[in-house]
């Protein structure tokens, strides 16, 4: 009997139209938990580095996290894993909503797609009945529209649908997979889905998800729910509103956008408008939001209402969350009404809300600077907002210049040449980042930006305050009920962190402290991605209800896997290393681990080197950022060590432990 998980994956061969239900190995649950962890292992085993993103041999894995479908509040993430066309690395992107629990109720933990369908199809999973169905009539349809049409034709209003729009079909490198309330956007995973000729995955499940130790598990769930209520009533003082509470950034509720609009950059991540926000704009934007927002909405089994239904005048209703509220507005130097309107089209087309606006602003910058000319934009309207709609159309349909832009700023700049590379200035690992340009280097953020393999800063940061509080007394008050820390020393790190003087950025926190802090934050995100937990209740906010101390109990009581803090940390490090190993094998190394040159004005090359060296050593990686043989064998990743030695990625470590010293035999360091 398997608990929390179902113990079954679906293997779908799209080339042959063959579908199989395959039992999984419970030992993998102990070692890699589930979700991202077990998916990383499947990618390692079945997608060697020779496999290109658009090869039929690339896999596209939809995984429900280990605890999805259990009563654990907010545990609803689908983790989508594949090789990204944009970064050419392993991409993993998460979406909330309702799909993952539904998949569990249907009796599966993962759906693994391989091959390429000859015609456009969708997968319909209804408990034991699983079939590929023709989707040629849905070609070109919007992602949200597609979901509604499929529910109608199947007469299954309760079916959950994740679909791509035109962008995915046309293999736009930053195409998303949309699921109504939520989307998996980063890394261009929607393009891989389009390449496989898979329009949608549709799920309806009416079976049970079982719990190993029911009373213990409910006790933990009740504690979490109580703490959420407590935190809702006690926002953290001294930080900006979106960091004070729980949930994904509460962008649908918060009207005061002074912080975002004055700190984030406008246009192609260029202009900081320090005096932008004023009363008139506040009034206007509040009216816009209130007139278009019909309701605040949640994901499955979560009270946080981070999303909203938006009805722009004259356009169909759609659902929105987080910061896509402002990305189009700011890229186009426009207002909120424009932003909420174009986001409707962008959601139907299915594009990433960070990359798409930047790509469009990048194109217009190239035009302004004569690198592209009017001839590249035939028929483009004169007005700024019209231009963004025109560009969006051309990108998602890969028409004219849109065909080049659809590859993202990094690849487009290469193709265009003539100095265009200088304008693709906001990328890490070939992927567009948050439009943020700051002054003084922050050592914690330096390491997170450089080494993150989730490509998005919001998916690495969270547990440690972004900046020191002004006075020691504020810091003392903050650490008082900070029980989430992995160790008491983190409180001291924070207490001693001053806005100015010796103990301030960039030299404080010191490199070893930075390693500790980043590792903690990253660990939280990786565990969320294996369990299917929403970052909004765990890794993203300060003082979350889920943390390193209660997670082992959730796993033991829920999945019946014997777990403690030590074992959990070891498991996270194991599959985190495996993610890196997948990317190492694809050529990623220290040379790629760089924040954009202009991310901070004040840079410190020597300090940055020391930070990176210290962090790599802390992680058990060599100075190139490659996991050492010793590290790999310690985690029981002998198969990776052997592969690296065979490929010449590593040479034999003198002090590597003997091969059979696998951690499952109780030999963890």
């Amino acid at each position: 009997m398997r608990y929390a998980e179902t113990g079954y994956n679906l293997e779908v061969d799209l080339s042959r139209g063959n579908i199989e239900r395959v039992e999984t190995d419970p030992r993998d649950t102990e070692l890699y938990l589930g979700g991202l962890g077990t998916s990383a292992k499947i990618i390692w085993e079945r997608v060697p580095p020779e496999v290109e993103p658009f090869s039929p041999d690339n896999l596209l894995i939809f995984a429900a996290g280990l605890l999805c479908g259990t009563p654990a509040t907010g545990c609803n993430r689908t983790i989508v894993t594949t090789i990204s066309p944009q970064t050419e690395l392993m991409a993993f992107s998460m979406m909330g909503g309702f799909l993952a629990p539904e998949l569990k109720y249907a009796g599966y933990d993962k759906v693994i797609f391989r091959g390429k369908s000859p015609d456009l199809v969708y997968l319909w999973i209804h408990n034991d009945k699983v079939e590929l169905r023709d989707a040629t009539h849905l070609r070109g349809k919007g992602a949200i529209e597609t979901a509604a049409l499929i529910q109608q034709e199947l007469k299954e209003p309760k079916a959950q649908v994740a679909a791509i729009g035109a962008a995915g079909e046309n293999r736009v490198f930053f195409a998303s997979i949309e699921q109504g309330r939520s989307s998996a956007s980063r890394g261009g995973i929607g393009a891989v889905m389009g390449d496989k000729n898979l329009k949608a995955i549709v799920v309806r499940g009416t079976k049970d998800v079982s719990i190993a130790k029911p009373m213990e598990f409910m006790e933990l769930c009740n504690e979490v729910l109580e703490y959420i209520k407590y935190r809702n009533d006690h926002p953290i003082p001294g930080v900006m509103p979106i960091l004070a509470g729980l949930g994904s950034p509460q962008e649908m509720k918060v009207h005061d956008e002074k912080w975002h609009t004055e700190n984030f950059s406008w246009g192609n991540s260029r202009t900081r408008r320090k005096d932008f926000w004023n009363e008139d704009i506040a009034r206007e934007w509040t009216e816009t939001m209130e007139s278009m927002r019909t309701r605040l909405i949640s994901c499955y089994n979560c009270p946080m209402t981070c999303g909203a239904t938006i009805s722009p005048p004259g356009m169909p209703t759609y659902m929105m969350k987080c910061f896509s509220k402002l990305t189009y507005t700011m890229a186009a130097m426009s207002d909120l009404e424009f932003g909420l309107g174009i986001a409707q089209s962008a959601t139907e087309y299915g594009v990433d809300g960070f990359s798409a606006p930047q790509v469009m602003a990048f194109a217009l910058e190239l035009l302004e600077n004569g690198i592209l000319t009017d001839e590249d934009f035939p028929g483009m309207p004169e007005d700024n907002e019209g231009r963004f709609y025109w560009l969006l159309e051309h990108i998602v349909h890969r028409e004219g210049i849109g065909d080049i832009l659809a590859n993202g700023t990094y690849w487009a700049a290469k193709q265009i040449g003539k100095g265009a590379e200088e304008y693709a200035h906001n990328n890490i690992k070939k992927h567009e980042q948050l439009p943020l340009k700051l002054s003084m280097l922050n050592p914690i953020y330096f390491i997170m930006y450089a080494t993150g393999e989730k490509i998005n800063i919001t998916q690495i940061e969270g547990q440690f305050p972004q900046a020191p509080f002004p006075k020691r007394e504020h810091r003392e008050a903050f650490v008082k009920d900070w029980f989430q820390v992995p160790d008491e020393k983190f409180k001291q790190y924070f207490l001693d962190w001053e806005p100015r003087g010796d103990n301030s950025i960039p030299y404080y926190p010191t490199p070893p402290m930075v390693a500790d802090i980043v590792d903690w934050q990253e660990r939280m995100h990786y565990i969320d991605d294996a369990l299917g937990m929403c970052a909004g209740l765990s890794s993203f906010p300060l003082k979350p209800p889920y943390h390193l101390h209660n997670y082992p109990k959730f796993i033991s009581a829920g999945a019946g896997v014997d777990m403690d803090e030590e074992k959990l940390t070891q498991a996270i490090r194991r599959y985190r290393t495996l993610v890196r190993a997948n990317n190492t094998r694809r050529g990623m190394s220290r040379k790629d681990e760089k924040p954009p040159k202009d991310h901070w004005k004040k840079r410190f090359p020597e300090l940055e080197k020391e930070l990176l060296d210290t962090y790599y050593a802390f992680k058990g990686w060599n100075e190139d950022g490659i996991p050492t043989e010793t590290t790999l064998r310690e985690f029981g990743l002998d198969y990776v060590a052997d592969d690296f030695l065979a490929r010449g990625i590593l040479t034999k470590d003198a002090d590597a432990p003997p091969k059979d010293d696998a951690p499952e035999k109780g030999k963890e360091a």
């Binding site: 479908g69 049970d208 949640s298 499955y300």
Partner: protein
Amino acid sequence: MPEEKKTKTVKTIKVDVDKCNGCRACEMICSAYHAAPKYSGNNPERSRVRVIREPLRDVYVPVYAGEYTPAECLGRDKYIIDGKEYDECAFCRASCPSRDLFKEPDSGLPLKCDMCEGEDEPLCVKWCIVDALTYEEREEEAEEDEKPEDIDVGIEALADKYGMDKIMDAVARMSQQKKD
């Protein structure tokens, strides 16, 4: 001598659809609470409250399972509230042959909300921390009438489906098998 007044406790769950965010925590916890053993699993399909949810039309209606009915209504209701049209029978609580709401997924037996007998507060209310569901209790004078047992309702439903004879046969056969 005046007859002693009987009272009954009226238990009300107030549903404020404006506050519902569609999370379905109510469905999840109801099914977990009624699992045997308690909390050993969950499956919203077994829940005695279901959220009729159509986000794009802004339809959010948590509906509670009421009485089982063997035959569907001939007349149907359709509501339009604030310009929003709700599906036929949207607000009806019956476990009724016209739809698959409020039936056990494997047996098809009817489900009915029991207000979480024995708990301080209905679980769906406890888990709806946004207060779309709130709970009230009051005493009212009343004549006590016999409530049919769950098992009676179940058998009645089976009888409607298969006929009494077939059920008697099946019960006889099963008890024979148990003895063997």
